[in-house]
Subunit: 341 residues, 2 copies
C-alpha cells in the first residue's frame, strides 16, 4: 500500500471560497457575517471535486491512500479572531471528514486547528477532540506562525504549545508542522514561507529539549524538512556546539520528514542523509507546484517516481511508502487493521 | 589559487566588542556614548587575531585568499538608528581594511553597510563609496532584513533597494545577501535566520524581474543558497507557474551560490544541481559551525575537502575555486592581475 501523508483539499467547490470571502467581509461588517449553515455543498459536488482531481492522479500515479487536510494556504489563521478561525476550521474539517466518508479507502482526515495569533492554543482543544473522536482524524496540522509570516508566537519548544502536545500524546497522534499563507511581502507563501517554517521548526527542536518532556510526541516536517537535510552537517554541528545529543537521539525518535521534494537529486539527498525510518512518502498533490517538469515530462509533484528511482532497497521503500506511516500515525494503522489491511 | 569568497572577521580583538557594548549603552544614555577614536586596536593585535585563527586554518586547509567582511552576526542593523549603524559600520570596515593591508596576499575586504530599519538604503552610499575607493573593497554584504528577523523591509526586488544596486552596477561589485543576528526568538541566528534569508532571497528574485532593470547586477547567496538547490525542482516549477523564463536565464546570469554546506552529500547535490559556473568556493571559516565532525574527523566547515571529493573535473574545480570568483568580483580579478596573479 502507498500512503501519501500530505494532501490538502485544494480543490474544494468554489462555494467554500465564496463563503470564506463573506466571512472575511463579515469581520468588518457583522451584519454581513454568514452562518455556517449557509454553506451548502452536496456529496455529488464533493465527489466530483475529488474524483476529477486528487483521486484521478492517485490512480494514475499509483498511490492508494492520502492523509487529507484542509487547504493549508486557506487556513489563514491571521484573519479575524478566534471565533472566525473556529467557525472556519470547523467547516473545513467537516468537509475533509465528508470526503473521507465518501472515499473511505482513499482518504483519511487530518485536522486543521482554529489557531489565532496571540490566543492560547488550548482554545484549539475542543475542535481537536471533535475531529479525533467524531471524525476519525489521525493527525493535526500545527501552524507554528499563526500570524502568517510575522512570527509573533513563541518557538515550538515553549510551554505556550504544551496544551496541544498533551492532547496529541493522549490521542497518540502526530502533528505536521505546516504554516499557512504569508501576509508578509518578503515571503512567497509556497516558495519561501513554507520552506522557511520547516527549517525554523527543525532548528527550534534542536535548540530545545521538548522531547524530554514529551518522549512520544511526533512531528512530521513537510516539504522534505525544508533546508534541514541539505544542511544536515550544519545541523549536526550546531547541535554539537549547543551540547545536545547526536541528532539521531535528540531529534529522530520524534521528527519525520516527508518526500515533498520535487526533483530526483533532492530525494536522493534526503534518502541518503536521513535514516529511512524517518522518511514518509508524500506529494502534497494537488498543491504548490502543479506543472510538468520539462526535463522529465512528468509532474514535478509526482514524487513516487523519485522514490522508485532512488538507491534504496524494497524493504526501505516499504517503510517510506507504508511502514513508517503506520508507526507515526497509529490511529491510521488501527483503522486499516480494522478493515483487514 | 583557492579563493574563499565568504569569511567574516569573527575573531576581532575583544576591544571591538567592548566598544560596541559601550555604544549600545550610549543609545539610552548619550553621556556614555564612546567616540570612534576611543577604540584602539594595534596592528600587532590585528595580526595575532588573524594569524592564530583564519590564516592558520587557511594554511592548514590550503586556501589562499579570503574575501573578508565584518562579522555578520555583529552587524546587528536593528540596534539604534542610522547614526549608530554608520559609526559601527565605519569602524568594522576600517578593521577589515587594515587586515587586508597587513595580509595583502590573503585578505581582500568586503564591506558591511550602515543599514538601519526603515531608513532609505541610499544613506549607505557614502560608506560604500569610501570602502571601494579608499579601502579597495571588492564587494558588499547586503542585509535584506535589517530588522533582525522581523522582515519589515520590502523584498530585494523593490525599488527601495535600487540606490544600492545603481552604485553596485557603477562599481561593478557584487553583493552577498547576508542577514545579521536574529532578535526574533523563533529564529536561531545561524541555524534558521541565515538559511531562511538565503531561501527567501532566491524566491524574491524568482518572483520579480530585477535583472531586467539591472542586467549586470550580481548577488552571491551564501550558505549554499539556503534551501534552494535542495528544492531546485520546486523553484523551477514555481518559476514556470509564475510564467518566468527558465531559471538558467531568469536567475543564473546574476545569482551565485557559495559552498558553505557542511557535509559531503550537500556539496554533491549543489554541484549536481547548480551549474558549476554559479558556484563559488567558500567556508565561512571561522563561523557558525566550529567543531569537528565525528563522522569524518575533520572540521565541519573544511569545505575544501567536500569539493575535492565531489564528482567534478579539474576544470570545474578551477571555476569553483578561482575562475568564477574572478568573474563575479572583477575588482578582485583586477587587483590580482596588478600583482601578476
Amino acid at each position: 500500500m502507498i500512503i501519501d501523508c500530505h494532501g490538502h483539499y485544494t480543490t474544494a467547490p468554489k462555494a467554500l471560497e465564496d463563503w470564506r470571502n463573506r466571512q472575511i467581509a463579515g469581520i468588518k461588517d457583522p451584519a454581513a457575517m454568514p452562518k455556517a449553515s449557509e454553506l451548502r455543498i452536496s456529496d455529488d459536488e464533493l465527489r466530483e471535486s475529488i474524483e476529477m482531481n486528487q483521486l484521478r492522479l492517485m490512480r494514475e500515479r499509483g498511490s492508494d491512500l492520502t492523509i487529507f487536510s484542509p487547504r493549508a494556504s486557506f487556513m489563514a489563521h491571521h484573519i479575524g479572531d478566534f471565533q472566525v478561525s473556529s467557525t472556519w476550521a470547523a467547516i473545513c474539517n467537516e468537509l475533509c471528514h465528508r470526503v473521507s466518508r465518501l472515499f473511505p479507502d482513499h482518504f483519511v482526515p487530518c485536522a486543521m486547528l482554529p489557531q489565532s495569533p496571540g490566543v492560547d492554543p488550548a482554545t484549539c482543544i475542543p475542535e481537536l477532540e471533535r475531529c479525533v473522536n467524531e471524525y476519525g482524524n489521525v493527525a493535526i496540522n500545527l501552524n507554528p506562525d499563526p500570524s502568517g509570516g510575522h512570527w509573533t508566537s513563541p518557538p515550538l519548544t515553549d510551554r505556550h504549545w504544551y496544551p496541544i502536545y498533551e492532547q496529541m500524546v493522549e490521542y497518540d497522534i502526530p502533528a505536521m508542522v505546516h504554516v499557512s499563507t504569508s501576509c508578509n511581502a518578503c515571503f512567497h507563501t509556497t516558495g519561501a514561507h513554507y520552506i522557511n517554517a520547516d527549517t525554523t521548526a527543525v532548528m527550534q527542536l534542536i535548540q530545545g529539549d521538548l522531547f524530554r518532556d514529551f518522549p512520544t510526541l511526533r512531528f512530521v516536517v513537510p516539504h522534505g524538512g525544508g533546508a534541514a537535510p541539505y544542511h544536515w552537517g550544519r545541523y549536526r554541528g550546531l547541535a554539537q556546539e549547543l551540547k545536545k545529543p547526536l541528532l539521531e537521539e535528540h531529534l529522530l525518535n520524534n521528527v519525520f520528514f516527508d518526500t515533498c521534494v520535487y526533483h530526483q537529486p533532492g530525494i536522493d539527498l534526503l534518502t541518503k542523509v536521513i535514516p529511512v525510518d524517518n522518511i514518509l512518502f508524500a506529494s502534497e498533490m494537488i498543491g504548490a507546484v502543479r506543472g510538468i517538469d520539462p526535463r522529465t515530462g512528468h509532474y514535478f509533484d509526482d514524487t513516487k517516481r523519485y522514490i522508485e528511482a532512488a538507491s534504496i532497497d524494497p524493504g526501505q521503500r516499504y517503510k517510506i511508502y507504508e511502514g513508517n506511516a503506520r508507526r507515526v500515525y497509529p490511529r491510521l494503522d488501527a483503522a486499516l487493521k480494522e478493515k483487514g489491511k
